[in-house]
Amino acid sequence: MALVEIRDVHKTFGKVEVLKGVSLDVEEGEIVTIIGRSGSGKSTLLRCINALESVDSGDIRVEGQKVHAGMPDLKKFRQRVGIVFQAFNLFPHLKVERNITLAPLLTGRIDKAKARALAEDVLTRVGLADKIDAWPEQLSGGQQQRVAIARCLAMSPHLMLFDEVTSALDPELVGEVLKVMEAMAKQGMTMILVTHEMGFARNVANRIVFMHQGRVWEQGPPAKLFANPETPELASFIASAK
């Protein structure tokens, strides 16, 4: 059984059908990168996997559990599925340590005595152990995004979703975030990423999924997909992304 099973998912916003029957499986430990033009439904699909949006029809299952906004264990489910956003969404009124430990403490995952050690541990993994007492706005965009990743890691998720996490960053800050994600990939974390970083997609992902007009248009291993795109849409997308 795949960790994530997506079957014929449809999603409409107003009159616009954003997802037109998406099916996709993601195995445990796999790194899947979703690419495609703006408006192709990539981010919506990611948000549906975390029940931030509910699907109109079709079926999404994570670890065998059917995902929807009204699911009984939604809070527990979201502790297992971390999501990192383009805009970081750190809590500006809390220091880095508290940003990280707030959810583990409130959900009873850890007690107060172990909170700082947990924050130190995940911050070390993203290379920011020295920023534990900083305020979010004292950090650069790349550092804030790494704290956001650390905040997710503190919940020990089984699956991580990344929604264009480098798109809001200055070019020189992209690398540090990608490096953290690469390290997570090496440790076996199951990851689904929506990204415009073609280099990262090519080098780190096990599989590339090209979405076009609300559908999975083409998918396969990066080497094959980038070298021999089967559809003119993917060929033109790759050409334009270069």
Binding site: R78, I83, N89, F91, P92, H93, L102, P136
Partner: protein
Amino acid sequence: MRSFSLIDFVSLFAALRWTIALVVLALAFGAPLALGLALGRISRFAGLRWAMAACIQVIQSVPLLGLLFFFYFGMPVFLGIQVPALVAVTVAYTLYTAAFLGEIWRGGLEAVKQAQWEAGACLGLSAWQQFRHIIAPQALRLSLPPTVGFLVQLIKGTSLASILGFVELARAGQVVSAATFQPLLTYALVAAIYFALCLPLTLWSRSLEARLDGSR
């Protein structure tokens, strides 16, 4: 006629207790109601949002004097209910406070980005935990200056309670002025007392704002 003496000075300060009592009553009952109105205004239930907006609109549109008149003089006529003056002013000031603070706090809550709720939800927090630990602290900082601004308005607004017989600071000023024929001195004193009451609030709000804004 007699000259302005210590006893007049004392009677002005004695009247201050009503001013303060009215403010305390208005806040004690009005603030929880305001929080309810603010939460209702940002609720996901459209019916509740409209109901709360309508309540606020009605109360804000009626002058405070009108509210005081209605609950003291109007209720016996229209509803056949006579309430003691203290109850009438408490209800009027409570509603007045709830409507204005409710809107101020709604603005503060809505000024916190929707993505902050989302970020909390994605970490597995309940709606209450998101509100309590993520949204409310940020909204509080944003709402503080207008909240204190309203508090100052409320303090001065208590002078209207004199029409129902409350000898609060402004009414006491009238009485002293009539007895001493020294309106300039008396009202200058009254103004100074109001100022002395409001200034610390403004200063306190500024320091609190700076303290809550630890990130800067």
